[in-house]
């Protein structure tokens, strides 16, 4: 099912929460709306589901404008952040709810519900009540409930934020597995960039109601279109380049920056920590002293103090190669692929 949002704008008491928001989704695609709290991603979901009406713009499902349809009439699967399961019904009745509203026959309902519970690996749980289930199990019931009516589109609103880290990883793989199996067009809202990167076919990075960038996880990471996107995904060192102050205008090993310093322009420079190369080379043109070391398991973070710079540099080194000590003076170099310049 093809979903298109064209120029969606929504205001709440004077504040514009979505500004001309437009995306076009392909069939069977898993698209993540990623952004900080308040960026409008949940609002976009509610507009698609029909709980909010947009001020401007169109919502088209398979080329049909659906904005005038009530939530009941849209065949859109929705998994809420807190699951919104029915506490007075058991698992079976929760999952069967949508089918009962569509007046399916008992036998058909039984079959379909069983199939769904099987899909989410909850067979045997039919008679349990919601409060008897763990967080992960409740999540799966919510998922089964949304899928049982074979919706045209699946919407998930931060479905995993209530789970602990380990369970979150397990569950997101589950969700992807099911999504791929059913070939369901899916929009997944999250503020967790690692989550978005690991499951999305495409990521839509949002900020303040607007789209910053749309692209595959790889493209977003390697070629962010703005400092915001770069900073939101992964870690960065953010440097302000000001030729007039002539301090950070020269980064050893980086060809791109010469353009800016040659033209005397100000620029913003993003350096990925893993693009910082450390060596004991005394002839290096840039030196730094290790101020702080953080051991993170597979990598080590070094905070380096660099004379003449007014900020520290964060370097990330694989743990197996990292053996430097506090206070040690090291030579610094950069890998060009991990450095980007943005005009101000």
């Amino acid at each position: 099912m093809k979903l298109e949002l064209k120029g969606i704008t929504k205001k709440f008491s004077g504040k514009t929460v979505l500004k001309k928001f437009s995306i076009s989704m392909e069939k069977a695609e898993l698209c993540c709306l990623l952004g900080p709290s308040g960026c409008g991603k949940s609002t976009a979901l509610k507009i698609i589901a029909g709980f909010l009406k947009q001020d401007e713009g169109e919502v088209c499902l398979n080329r049909q404008e659906i904005s005038l349809l009530t939530p009941q009439e849209r065949n859109v699967g929705l998994v809420f952040q807190n699951y919104a399961l029915f506490p007075h019904l058991n698992v079976f009745d929760n999952v069967a709810y949508g089918l009962k509203r569509r007046k399916w026959r008992k036998k058909q309902i039984l079959q379909q519900v069983e199939e769904m519970l099987d899909l989410v690996q909850l067979d045997g749980f039919e008679r349990r009540y919601i409060h008897e289930l763990s967080g992960g199990q409740q999540q799966r019931v919510a998922l089964a409930r949304s899928l049982v009516t074979s919706p045209d589109l699946l919407l998930l609103d931060e479905p995993l934020s209530n789970l602990d880290a380990r369970l979150r990883m397990q569950m997101r793989n589950e969700i992807v597995r099911i999504q791929r199996k059913l070939g369901l067009t899916t929009i997944y809202v999250t503020h967790d960039q690692e989550e978005a990167m690991s499951i999305a076919d495409r990521v839509v990075v949002m900020n303040n109601g607007m789209i910053e960038q749309i692209g595959s996880p790889r493209d977003i990471y390697k070629e962010p279109s703005s400092p915001f996107v770069a900073g939101f995904i992964g870690r960065i060192n953010l440097l302000k380049i000001d030729p007039e102050r002539d301090r950070i205008s020269v980064l050893p090993g980086i060809p791109g920056q010469n353009r800016h310093s040659a033209r005397g322009e100000k620029a913003t420079c993003i350096i990925r920590p893993e693009a910082v190369e450390l060596s004991s080379d005394p002839n290096s043109s840039l030196h730094g002293i290790i101020k702080e070391i953080t051991f993170l398991g597979s990598v080590v973070h070094y905070h380096l103090e660099i004379p003449d710079w007014d900020q520290d540099l964060l370097a990330e080194v694989p743990a197996l190669k990292a053996g430097y000590r506090l206070g040690q003076k090291l030579g610094i170099g950069f890998i060009p692929e991990g450095v980007r310049f943005f005009e101000q």
């Binding site: 589901a49 709980f51 009530t70 939530p71 009941q72 859109v76 699967g77 929705l78 809420f80 807190n82 919104a84 399961l85 029915f86 506490p87 007075h88 019904l89 709810y97 949508g98 509203r101 569509r102 409060h131 409930r145 949304s146 009516t149």
Partner: protein, 549 residues
């Protein structure tokens, strides 16, 4: 290490509860085991074999079931109207539903008679009808109206807690608004409905004033107990009737208690979302609105007619303004007014403070018999007022505790009847307080007692104010328990109103009622002031928890 304080205080409360709750209760039960002056089950035999008494029991239960059903339904309609639709008359209905809090049952009975009685303003003067007002039908109508406050608050508290996200989930799955209401919202409100039903049943069974005033030839266990004791001093029969009544009340209360415990696990997650509105179809909305408007009109009518009855006199063709009915006050009524205010004030102070102390002991201090204390304090909830009244009258009319005829017995009786309320509110206040704050206080060196007075009490003050004023209002309305304990020296307004009504002296009764309502309304005004600090939500929650008794 068990200090004297730890042991002493609970022991003291146990003693007091035993003397002033258990002892009178047992006295009544023992008295009922008497027949024509000799021990035996003769009285009970009579009660369960003579058709008159069987009919009495059946009548009481049927009316109680009827009132419970009707008032629960009414409370539900009003709750939905006020909280689930966006209709503009919500404030009016809210005002109307709060009125029974300040207008006691026996006063609404009075208004009812004034409007619809044989010489009633509406039935006789306006419509020239004559119908038999004194019957079980009137009891049913008045109880339904009177209990609506309780059912409304109980149901609303649960209704408001139904997460709108859950209702949205139902919409997303294809349910229309009516289906959302019936398949999701109402099932989740069921605990509130059951609680409302059980408590209304209990109150109806125990109700003395309304059936006595408008029941006519219809009698209940409560009214018959009064007649037997005051009329023929047949203590055995009165006690037996009261005991049977208490058994019904205990059963209803036990069911309610058990259900409350069970519903803890069922607790609907109250989160962001709050009460969502339902967009119901026109027909349904019209019905709700009609019910709301009719209810409001009736309640306001009853309120206005009290004033009409108090300030007018019927002469010939019309009504004329007069102060006559109030003239009785300087002659006979001052005492009652002063007594009412003093007794109610003392009661509310004692029950609120000691209710909190007992709640603190039960929940924070470990001592043997904690659960028993919990039970003993809560028990008077289930005991009908008339039962306690008879108990006090019989138990304390001989040494060593010769209290009858004194003001002390009136105050003590009211205190122990209201104590469960104070305990309940104290308990609920403590539950909401962060334990860690008390622990911080103790960690910094304060004793448990110091913590209680310096930390817990001040933090609880706003909420305590609400329950104190509620206790105050309820004390002014007490009738059933006090009807057996009042003597010319220590009268209270509720009994004066009752006696005047029974005498047929509607004008005087109404005048006293106006005074009583002003005293009660003053109390409600104080809640509003105190409530400004705590905010509407917690005030509301607390009010719903206090809806017993």
């Amino acid at each position: 290490m068990l200090s004297l304080k730890k042991f002493g205080l609970p022991a003291l409360f146990f003693l007091l509860l035993f003397v002033f709750v258990a002892y009178p209760t047992l006295t009544v039960i023992v008295k009922s085991y008497e027949y024509k002056g000799q021990s035996g089950f003769g009285t009970y035999l009579m009660l369960f074999t003579k058709p008159y008494f069987i009919g009495l029991i059946r009548g009481s239960v049927l009316i109680a079931l009827g009132s419970a059903f009707c008032s629960t339904l009414l409370g539900l309609f009003l709750s939905i109207l006020v909280f689930k639709t966006g209709l503009p008359m919500r404030k009016l209905v809210l005002f109307a539903v709060v009125l029974p809090m300040i207008i006691p049952g026996f006063v609404t009975s009075l208004s009812y008679i004034f409007l619809f009685g044989r010489n009633g303003l509406i039935t006789f003067k306006l419509l020239n009808l004559s119908w038999e007002i004194y019957s079980w039908r009137s009891v049913l109508i008045l109880q339904t109206l009177g209990f609506s406050t309780t059912t409304f608050f109980l149901i609303s508290a649960v209704l408001v807690g139904v997460n709108s996200q859950t209702e949205n989930a139902a919409r997303n799955l294809g349910a229309n608004e009516w289906q959302v209401l019936t398949t999701v919202t109402l099932p989740l409100v069921r605990p509130g409905l059951a609680a409302a039903f059980l408590l209304s049943f209990l109150r109806s069974m125990a109700d003395f004033g309304t059936p006595f005033i408008v029941g006519g030839r219809f009698n209940t266990l409560a009214t018959m107990a009064y007649t037997k004791l005051i009329g023929t001093y047949d203590t055995a029969t009165a006690s037996a009737l009261s005991t049977v009544l208490m058994v019904f009340c205990l059963i209803a209360f036990w069911l309610y208690f058990r259900m409350e415990r069970k519903s803890q696990s069922f607790r609907v997650e109250r989160q962001l979302g709050g009460a969502g509105l339902l967009r119901l179809p026109l027909l349904h909305r019209s019905i709700l609105v009609s019910v709301g408007v009719l209810f409001s009109v009736v309640m306001l009518g009853l309120l206005i007619s009290v004033f009409l009855a108090a300030f007018t006199r019927h002469l010939g063709a019309g009504l004329h303004f007069t102060w006559d009915h109030f003239r009785i006050i300087p002659q006979q009524g001052w005492n009652s007014i002063i007594n009412t205010i003093i007794f109610a004030s003392i009661t509310c102070l004692i029950t609120t403070f000691f209710g909190l102390v007992i709640a603190y002991l039960v929940s924070r201090v470990r001592f043997p018999g904690g659960r028993l204390l919990d039970l003993l304090v809560t028990l008077p909830f289930a005991i009908p007022g008339t039962f306690m009244g008879i108990g006090y009258a019989l138990a304390f009319n001989r040494p060593p505790l010769l209290l009858s005829g004194t003001w002390a017995i009136v105050v003590i009786c009211t205190v122990f009847r209201e104590l469960p309320l104070g305990f309940r509110s104290g308990d609920s206040i403590l539950k909401q307080q962060e334990r860690s704050i008390e622990q911080a206080s103790e960690n910094l060196g304060d004793s448990k007692t110091g913590t209680f007075f310096r930390i817990i009490l001040p933090m609880a003050r706003p909420a305590l104010m609400v329950s104190a004023v509620y206790a105050y209002i309820t004390s002014t309305k007490t009738l059933g328990a006090l009807i057996f304990l009042i003597t010319p020296g220590n009268k209270v307004l509720s009994v004066d109103i009752f006696e005047a009504t029974v005498r047929g002296d509607v004008g005087n009764a109404a005048a006293f009622s106006v005074v009583l309502m002003m005293i009660a309304a003053g109390g409600v005004g104080l809640i509003a002031l105190a409530g400004k600090r705590t905010g509407v939500a917690s005030r509301f929650k607390l009010l719903s928890k206090l809806q017993i008794g």
